[in-house]
């Protein structure tokens, strides 16, 4: 399944409000600036900081 483009257009990272990219194959939304990775579950972006996979320290 793919995400609604209009929804993707208005989403930003809840952590730093950075621009995000949707990686459809991995079903994940990734912030360009902080690198937080937000899962997409059953077509629903989970834009919760607690649920995000964070990059290892020192890496972006």
């Amino acid at each position: 399944m793919t995400l609604d483009p209009e929804l993707l257009r208005i989403l930003v990272c809840p952590n730093d409000r950075g621009e995000v990219d949707y990686h459809e194959a991995e079903q994940v939304i990734v912030c360009r600036t902080c690198g937080y990775r937000y899962p997409v579950r059953d077509d629903i972006p989970v834009m919760l900081i607690d649920e995000a996979e964070k990059p290892a320290a020192g890496k972006r």
């Binding site: 609604d4 809840p14 629903i44 989970v46």
Partner: protein, 263 residues
């Protein structure tokens, strides 16, 4: 979140019992906020998508967010194509000024950090945009008194009360018109006003009792008692309700509709 504070496990019941009834105050709130076709609308605490779906029906570009993925899964199934995201009211995943109206139905009292949540809600509203909420104006009636009386027979008050206060921190506070208006003014909104509204909903006794399992008191009691004891308790509650009230039940609820404008 898979503890009793979460709405995940009660989403199906919420959609069946409450969503059809809550569409009515949602419609009134969206009218108060002046939502029309082409408006960008955010529904915070959308649950199973009630207000977002009403907004979409008005021709608005609606998005619903909720912290409960369980609720959103039901919203997605009930309203195909409705735009949804899991998000907290604090740290909303949207740019500043993204929406012509931000609404929330029966969600204000749930915010633990209400000032911070309102700050972020106002942030995503466009200048001149409306921020509007519904809030229960009273928590007491013969039905809920009976329910609390029954629950307090099986769950000690000293356990129940602090737990409920944690789940819905501002339940009492936002039953008051003035408190709602002050919160909106403190968030920087202007032309703040509230309108009282009254709704009368009819439930079969079984639907009404199912519906009670959705709210914090019911979720907590169910968790405390566990499977078999809960079933026994439900049976007793049904007997007491059937004894006191004619089936179907007519529940009359006072609601505040509050609005402010971002300048």
């Amino acid at each position: 979140m898979d503890d009793w504070r979460s709405y995940d496990d009660v989403a199906v019941t919420y959609e069946r019992v409450h969503a059809p009834r809550f569409a009515e105050p949602a419609r009134d709130l969206l009218a108060l906020a002046g939502v029309h076709a082409g408006h960008r609308v955010l529904d915070v605490g959308t649950g199973t998508g009630v207000a977002a779906e009403v907004a979409r029906g008005l021709g608005a570009d609606a998005v619903g967010v909720d912290a409960s993925l369980g609720m959103l899964r039901v919203a997605h199934a009930a309203h195909p194509g409705l735009r949804l995201a899991a998000a907290g009211a604090i740290d909303l995943p949207f740019r500043d000024g993204s929406f012509d109206a931000v609404v929330g139905t029966f969600v204000l009292a749930h915010f633990a950090k209400v000032d911070t949540a309102l700050y972020d809600i106002v942030r995503v509203a466009a200048p001149g945009g409306a921020v509007a909420f519904t809030s229960w104006a009273d928590g007491r009636d013969a039905f809920s008194d009976t329910w609390l009386e029954l629950v307090s027979e099986v769950v000690p008050k000293e356990l129940l009360e602090p737990s409920i206060a944690k789940a819905i921190p501002n339940h009492e506070r936002f039953t008051k018109r003035q408190a709602v208006e002050v919160a909106l003014l403190d968030a920087g909104l202007r032309r703040v006003r509230t309108e009282p509204a009254q709704y009368e909903w009819s439930y079969t006794l079984d639907d009404y009792l199912d519906g009670l399992e959705v709210w914090a008191v019911g979720r907590f009691a169910k968790e405390m008692l566990g499977g078999a004891a809960w079933a026994g308790f439900r049976e007793r509650a049904r007997t007491v309700f059937a004894d006191r009230f004619p089936d179907p039940l007519h529940d009359r609820r006072d609601v505040l509709l509050a609005i402010g404008i971002k300048e």
